[in-house]
């Protein structure tokens, strides 16, 4: 084995230029794969992050049936009792939410919105809208009937900080309820749609507007770092008092997003296969040249008594060495290149409109996962190994005399 390895290692340096071309091919493939994978992962992470940090946290507790037919008639009664139980669950922050569709209008324009009644202090721990305020504040003043709206909506309604808007919605008693709210804060998130669609008011104002007593629509729950989603769901099931409610994770709440994530996973693997197939063909081509150049040498070895399987093994090792060198260099360079962007982010503000529509940040932080590297390495090594099977088989099937006489 040692000598086979030694011969294989030295063989790859017989024609350094060709070996470096092969190694460079693998390096480029690895960098391409790591780059695509890490940016796709960063993109996926941003989408998930947006879904969680802007739209109700990791988990929501909602009335039974609300997910299929959202309706203000469906509400959680006695939220205090539920809040007491939630306080006993470790690793979570939770915030009450009253949410309903309505209309926002100013003296100049109007439009459909989603009105979210929140407890600002608790909401800060669950969503990050409070961090996105670009004018005014996030319910810090005692202003009555305060509203925080998105920049897009403010532009659409042509209202500025301190001006009033009218919010209208269908109340619990089926009548149209309305109220005047003063804009105390304007936010700008990564999503222009979000900034156009959402209006935040205090929880009690929202309850008053639609005729709720102390009822709420949902509890939004944010999971602290290190706590498992499914385990927390189980814990919630055990802890919460029985009632007509449903525990819904962000995955259940966003089936389209989950489907997109799965499609991205397939895309990553497909991309890997395409890259590696290209590398594999390069390797087949190069190794066919290699064996063509060494036919006579293989003939001598076989004449001496070297078994064909040993010749095949030698070529497998040569491929493995080339692939491993290429992969190692590729991974190191990938870490250097994408590691920089991982720390500083890649600013894609040139495409901010498109990304904004998708509701994700214009700065993408590539995610380099060890599992992706291992899968990539495994596929590259396996496929190149498979690729060299044919040249190796060919090399081991030469007729000794023909090989010895080959000029």
């Amino acid at each position: 084995m040692k000598t086979t390895l030694k011969i294989a290692w030295r063989n790859i340096w017989r024609n350094p230029r060709r070996s470096w071309v092969l190694i460079t091919t693998v390096v480029v493939a690895v960098i391409g794969y790591v780059g695509t994978t890490s940016f796709t992962r960063g993109f996926m992470y941003e989408m998930v992050n947006s879904a969680i940090r802007y739209y109700g946290g990791h988990i929501q507790i909602i009335p039974e049936g609300y997910d299929t037919k959202p309706n203000i008639q469906l509400r959680l009664s006695h939220p205090d009792r539920m809040a007491e139980a939630l306080a006993r669950v470790p690793g979570i922050h939770f915030a009450p939410l009253v949410t309903f569709k309505g209309m926002a209008s100013s003296s100049e324009a109007s439009g459909g919105v989603v009105i979210n009644g929140i407890d600002p202090q608790k909401e800060r721990q669950v969503t990050i809208v409070s961090e996105k305020i670009i004018a005014g504040d996030y319910f810090e003043s005692e202003t009555a009937n305060a509203a925080v709206i998105g920049e897009e909506l403010a532009e659409r309604l042509n209202v500025r900080l301190g001006e009033k808007i009218i919010l209208m919605a269908s109340a619990l008693d089926q009548n149209i309820a309305s109220g005047a709210f003063r804009v105390v804060g304007i936010f700008r998130t990564v999503s222009t749609d979000f900034d156009r669609a959402f209006v935040f008011i205090r929880l009690d104002d929202a309850q008053k507007l639609i005729g709720y007593q102390d009822e709420i629509t949902a509890f939004s729950i944010h999971l602290q770092q290190g706590y498992d989603l499914q385990q927390t769901v189980e814990r919630l099931r055990e802890t919460l008092p029985p009632g007509d409610f449903k525990i819904q994770t962000w995955r259940e709440r966003n089936p389209v997003l989950v489907l997109s994530l799965e499609v991205y996973e397939y895309f990553i693997f497909l991309f890997l296969l395409i890259i590696v197939t290209a590398v594999a063909f390069t390797i087949v081509n190069s190794f066919l040249m290699v064996i063509y150049e060494r036919i006579r040498e293989f003939g001598v070895m076989m004449a001496m008594g070297v078994l064909p399987k040993r010749i095949r093994r030698m070529l497998y090792w040569e491929t493995l060495f080339l692939t491993l060198i290429g992969s190692t260099v590729g991974i190191v360079l990938s870490y250097l290149i994408f590691g920089y962007w991982r720390r500083h982010g890649l600013d894609l503000s040139a495409t901010s409109d498109a990304l904004g529509k998708l509701g994700i940040s214009t700065v993408i932080y590539p995610e380099i996962l060890m599992s992706d590297l291992l899968i990539g390495l495994g596929v590259i090594v396996s496929l190149t190994w498979i690729a060299v099977l044919y040249p190796a088989y060919k090399a081991s099937r030469f007729h000794v005399v023909d090989a010895l006489n080959f000029v």
Partner: protein
């Protein structure tokens, strides 16, 4: 005792135009153990073909070849490789050393294939090379760093180190100048005498014919003369 027994050996090739060519035409031959024999003849006479068949590198169209009592027709590819490894040594006109191995490693390689332990391998390879006049310094050089004569000496060492029953040498001096070739032949003859290794040459080099103790002349695939010297 005969180390090689060839009976009614026929080898028919097809040339480029698919026309059958009778390279060997019913050869009968016995080579005794310890002989130093040359098969000579003009180009295309069939001497290399005969050597290839005796070496188990090729299969005859008909007839049989027994080497060290083993009928080579009975062995499949792997068994033939194993048989060659244990019983035969080869020396080629173009030396054919493994270019990525040093002289020492080239000689050691065949012992490795035979499963000889590392320490013994190195020792035997060194001794063999030293006997053929390869210095310690040269032992660690790769073939490309050696002269033709030095490479052929390494090739001889590679063939003899494995202690084969017979060494088949195909035009071993054809690429060497007469002085180097002569010295190498003398060395091989010395090994033949001291160790009793059987040498069978295919050649049209006068020097080899002069040193051979038995000369077999072959023409058009037939033995036309077989004389002891």
């Amino acid at each position: 005792m005969d180390i090689v027994q060839v009976e009614n050996l026929v080898k028919v090739y097809e040339d480029q135009n698919q026309v059958p060519v009778r390279a060997l035409d019913g050869i009968d031959l016995q080579i005794g153990e310890g002989e130093f024999t040359a098969i000579a003849g003009p180009s295309g006479s069939g001497k290399t073909t005969l050597l290839n068949l005796i070496g188990g590198l090729d299969k005859p169209t008909s007839g049989s070849v027994r080497v060290a009592g083993q009928d080579l027709n009975e062995l499949d590819g792997n068994a033939l490789a194993e048989f060659r490894l244990r019983n035969l040594g080869f020396i080629f006109q173009a030396y054919n050393l493994i270019p990525v191995l040093s002289a020492l490693e080239n000689v050691e390689f065949i012992l490795l294939l035979q499963g000889v332990p590392e320490e013994e391998r190195i020792e035997r390879a060194r001794q063999e090379l030293a006997e053929l006049g390869i210095s310690d310094d040269m032992m660690h050089r790769r073939p490309s760093e050696l002269s033709g004569g030095q490479q052929q000496r390494v090739a001889v060492a590679r063939a003899t180190v494995a202690r084969p029953r017979i060494i088949l040498a195909d035009e071993p001096t054809a690429n060497l100048d007469s002085k180097t070739g002569g010295l190498l032949l003398d060395k091989m003859r010395e090994m033949n005498e001291s160790r009793g290794i059987t040498f069978l040459f295919s050649t049209h080099d006068q020097m080899v014919m002069e040193r051979a103790r038995r000369l077999i002349l072959i023409r058009d695939g037939k033995i036309v003369e077989d004389r002891q010297r």
